[in-house]
Point group: D2
Chain length 257, copies 4
């Protein structure tokens, strides 16, 4: 059983190009003293972000995966456990931020896109959750927050509503939300905190910055800052056992909804 | 473009052993004058039900599928269109009643069960919906109900809530519900009606009859009759274009919820 | 205890000017053989609709109320019970269709408008429900549908969402929906069916007809027909005890939602 | 227009006996440097809590109201604005924590209890919100969080579900939730943040402590600490404009839901 003195580890999956929610969460938790294990498809991004965090005085390590298959995710977690062995380290937080979006009229969506949505948004989340919970169950309960660990999922508007061009994306995000609720109910009793965010608006990442231009970027009222989402994940992590949040929504002040 | 005089066809997928919702829907629509195309895994059940309907004076034909893969579903629909060619026949209703349930603590659920849930509950519904909508788009609008066609999905309690032992099932059913909502929004404008039922209770089928015994079977207040669910599908089919229902819940009078 | 041979009575409250949901429900149930007790503010409308139904061969009686206060509603029900005495008559259905809408920016809404919304949309529904349930509890269970009685509430988009100009209306309609759910759960066990409709679109009534013009009126795809809503209430009334619906939504085929 | 240098004021309404959410919020915001205006029925509690906060080095002032009528609430806010005049002070946060609960079978609930629920849970919230928003509109936007002000409502399980004995309470809490959503949508665009918490479990207050005993009190996994709820309100207050939460749920780690 791990001790309170162990170094805390965050595992985060889904990093895009390093400008979004996953990377911001990694940076913030690193600043707060966590060792950060970075999972993403693509060696470049995990290496780059890992180096960036370390050069800022934090601790991080890269764990690229070939795909988000159950097998590859399990392998990555195996490598993480080797890299951050108990009892010196405790995996205390896990953020599943991987996702796959497709916005198309229904008849234009291919069976392959449906498969990718279900695989990336749901099946890989099952695999990631399994590893996170197996790790958390080995931990003792932290005094400060009453948790063995916290598992956070990044949701979207499509987690709550199917819209005209979101059939495949919404199916994936609805499924992920269901998983998160089942886990929250099953593992809360074991002091494992499971939370789900509804990101209801555009996030400021490199891609949206390029598409929408400097005026949009400059207007904090109309787009989500990845750092602000990361702050909410940190708040969730700090919630003590008497008052845990399963779900919160996050949107810019001026968002129409 | 099909004419009003064409014979109406229902395609129903998911028949269990012939004692549940899919079969009851097939029987009811056959009584109402529909030709019924039966899709299920297993030649036995589609043949048996087809014969039963025909011996009761109805019209039906069997279309067994090896699996609910996109490819097998598309092939079955191809065979159905050949069997019921336009303009003599119009495919006017499609009921997706296939499903896969697994009730287990999260850590006991295998990656294969997750895959089967996503494939059967969601991916196959995408494939089925695609074929239904492509067929409906060929139809004119029926005067009586203002529809080119109606596509109905069978949901469950798990469509709305993830519970302790339902993570994989709820992920599938949530995804299906999202699909149905996207389709309702996209294709309502084309006079294609998409509906989703929430079956919130135990259905009286051979398996539950065997498990729960004659007292439960005899008590109509505590279990859903497949015929009553079929009645609701018939009501949805008859709704005129001014007032369509996307979603309704169905539960026994004495159900605790 | 009332007998199966008793004449069935519908009590409906909220008739507008006789061109909407309440009046269409009264006409339909009268055609189906119900005696219809009409509650509304304003003697003119209840008298006029009562005469109209009788001249069409139906049975109806007017019960004007001064207001929808608990006291006036109880008095009206007292008069109805006298007019349709047991065991000759059974009050078997009750539809609460009264409502008060106000669409204004929040700061323009007066405390009086808030009060009227809460009184008409919620408090009067409590009073109406109390009388309906007390009457239903005196009934035996009808064989055909397994009910002692059915109580139906008319909801709206604002039952599910608060929007920019709907604060007072949505507060009222959310409250009504909560009441209907509590009642459905408490009294289902006593074979009293409670249902709630979500009317998600514009209804074709005299006022909207005047506002939106003949093109809108002629286009069945864009507005709800009161008769179609009434059909859904009749369907709910006919549902047998094994499969009752608490909530269904109704919207025109082309509605954006 | 108020300046950034102004002293920040929190107005909180609904203090129970000073052992619950309202009082904990007052204490926490006082520690964070807010001047706290205390509204409650009963001079004793506002005086006592005001003294307590001042004796701990904070700033507070009592504003007892005779009732939560629109008129009394407006008067209290008038007195608060006089006590904390602009531009020296800015009312920056308002927490509506007043509520009225009644848990009874439907037929045991009196019209007076319905009225009290609607008045306290909804109508008074309209009056309180009006005053808060009128005050916030006078403020400039704070740099740190992008807000003119934040208005927080305390909700409950009954905000989302009507249950067997909660008809009157749920009607009130559903209505409050609708109000909060309408306000969030209307005033977000003016940089006024409106949030709603779902308290889904028992809160540790003097009354529940007395009822449930020392074992329950000692077990942080099974009851909500008012301080933890207050922490969530502080977190909401600190959220920057790019990522505001309208709604979050809060429940103890071991809560069954």
């Amino acid at each position: 059983m791990a001790t309170q003195a162990a170094k805390r580890v965050l595992v985060v999956a889904g990093l895009g190009n390093g400008s979004g929610t996953g990377a911001a969460t990694a940076r913030l938790f690193a600043k707060k003293g966590f060792n950060v294990a970075l999972i993403a498809r693509g060696k470049d991004i995990v290496d780059k972000l890992s180096e960036e965090i370390k050069s800022s005085g934090g601790q991080a390590a890269p764990f690229a995966v070939e795909s988000y298959s159950a097998q590859h995710i399990a392998s990555a977690w195996g490598a993480i456990r080797n890299h951050y062995p108990s009892p010196e380290y405790n995996i205390r937080a896990a953020v599943f931020n991987a996702g796959y979006g497709v916005w198309k009229p229904f008849l234009d969506i291919t069976p392959e896109e449906v498969q990718t949505s279900l695989q990336t948004n749901i099946a890989s989340a099952f695999a990631f959750s399994r590893e996170a919970i197996l790790s958390f169950k080995e931990n003792d309960i932290e005094e400060a927050n009453g948790k063995r660990g916290i598992l956070i999922f990044t949701g979207a508007t499509a987690s709550l509503r199917g819209n005209v061009v979101t059939s495949a994306f919404a199916a994936g995000k609805h499924g992920l939300r269901a998983l998160s609720q089942s886990l929250a109910k099953e593992f809360g009793k074991q002091n494992i905190h499971v939370a789900h965010s509804i990101i209801d608006g555009g996030i400021l990442v490199d891609r949206s910055r390029a598409q929408k231009g400097p005026e949009w970027e400059a207007n904090e009222d109309v787009r989500l800052s990845p750092d602000s989402i990361a702050n909410s994940y940190w708040y969730l992590t700090s919630q003590d056992r008497s008052a845990w949040t399963w779900e919160l929504d996050l949107r810019p002040a001026h968002e129409k909804w």
